[in-house]
């Protein structure tokens, strides 16, 4: 008797999104094709939610995202892009355009890196990409220094 369906489904999902080995019996080339397709689709979702992150990274956007995402299960496009932007910011490699986009989001929403982001009720001030972002009563003001 084979292992039960729940365990086998979990093994397959782990192979597709968390870099776990392909379960025995599956065609590894086909599973790899599905894994790559999932990453492309996932990148498309992040692109829609974080257009300046993708634009700021330019030519290296797709490779940066897929390299970062291949070992991380998808948390949904909003959190996915948020997590990547924060990790690039921490490494000092977040482009200025993307840093502004991140600062706008951080000013408007509270995100603990684990659950769904929640709208802030209190005013917030953020810096990013040479801009200062002020959020008051849900309205976001972007104050940019002349370049």
């Amino acid at each position: 008797m084979s292992r039960d369906l729940a365990a086998r489904q979990a093994d397959l999902v782990a192979a597709l999104v968390a870099d776990a080995p392909v379960p025995a019996g599956f065609d590894p080339l086909r599973v790899e094709a599905a894994r790559a397709a999932l990453l492309r689709k996932r990148a498309g979702g992040v692109l829609r939610h974080w257009p300046l992150l993708a634009a700021g990274l330019g030519d290296v956007w797709l490779s940066t995202f897929t390299e970062w995402a291949r070992t991380r299960p998808p948390p949904g496009p909003l959190r996915d892009g948020w997590d990547l932007a924060r990790s690039l910011a921490a490494a000092g490699t977040l482009p200025a355009l993307a840093a502004e986009e991140l600062a706008v989001r951080e000013a408007g929403w509270r995100y603990d890196g684990v659950g769904e982001p929640r709208r802030r009720r209190l005013p917030a001030l953020q810096r990013g990409g040479g801009a200062i972002v002020l959020q008051v009563a849900g309205r976001v003001h972007l104050l940019r220094r002349p370049r």
Partner: protein, 271 residues
């Protein structure tokens, strides 16, 4: 039920194009893109006020998961069906999460008795809460499980028979699976219960490294239109719907695809 016609998947990016289609009578909307209790998109509300049929199409229920469907997700579908006065709701024969991890995509099931039992149990749980009928859509699979006991037609027919659900037949999925498995898509049409079709999906895709991907972001292949004609020879479906999920082409290109679907099925054009 659904008016006899050609429809299109409603997406915010093309809502202006969709609203301007003079002959349009039905659309489908991704259920998870709407809130159950908050305001609905004004462009969608406007379509409803014009008498358009709007079908909530779920993509994250995971009817094929070994675990029971989440009651909150079923309630979301039920609430949307009520708010939109939908004639029916549709979802996939697939799983999208396991072991607490989201795959982010529709994944195929092993075609085993155990999997049939899991799907049937989840479909029944869902049907018990829905105010309208449920239509089930077989998916495009890039790979198969190693231990299939049933072929595709047996697997689908058994699920439909045991649940009395309707069939949402996606001809692009049928085409993709047949091409990637090296068999004839028409053979499957001959073995499915076509009288159970609620409506039909049509979409575009592209080949990568010898594998055809049902992307919904590429042009509609002529072979999928030929399948529309093959289906209509056997059984004329109540309605056909074009799914486009990104990389939107100029309006004339999208109109030409809608016209081509109408022509292949012998339906009036909606453009």
């Amino acid at each position: 039920m659904i008016p006899y016609s050609v429809g299109i998947g409603w997406r915010p990016e093309i809502c202006g194009f969709v609203a301007a289609l003079p002959g349009l009578r039905f659309v489908e909307v991704i259920a998870e893109s709407l809130t159950a209790h908050g305001p609905l998109p004004p462009a969608l509300v406007a379509l409803r006020q014009r008498g358009m049929a709007v079908i909530p199409h779920g993509v994250q229920l995971s009817l094929g998961g070994a675990d029971p469907v989440a009651p909150s997700r079923v309630a979301h579908l039920a609430r949307l069906a009520e708010r939109l006065s939908a004639p029916l709701v549709s979802e996939h024969i697939a799983f999208v999460r396991a072991g607490g991890v989201e795959a982010g995509h529709l994944l195929p099931l092993p075609r085993t008795r155990e999997a049939v039992d899991a799907v049937v149990a989840n479909v029944r749980r869902t049907q018990a809460e829905l105010p309208v009928p449920l239509a089930l859509e077989p998916i495009a699979a890039l790979f198969d499980w190693p231990d299939d006991e049933l072929d595709e037609a047996q697997f689908l027919t058994e699920i439909l028979d045991r649940t009395e659900a309707l069939l949402l037949l996606d001809l692009a999925n049928i085409y993709a699976n047949a091409r990637n498995r090296g068999n004839d898509p028409v053979d499957l049409l001959d073995r499915l219960p076509l009288d159970r079709i609620a409506y039909v999906h049509v979409a575009g895709g592209i080949e990568h490294d010898g594998i055809y991907h049902d992307t919904h972001t590429d042009p509609l292949p002529p072979a999928v239109l030929e399948l529309v004609a093959e289906l209509c020879i056997r059984h004329r479906p109540p309605a056909l719907l074009l799914e486009r999920d990104g990389n939107y082409p100029p309006a004339p290109v999208l109109r030409a695809e809608l016209d081509a679907i109408a022509a292949a099925a012998g339906y009036p054009t909606i453009t």
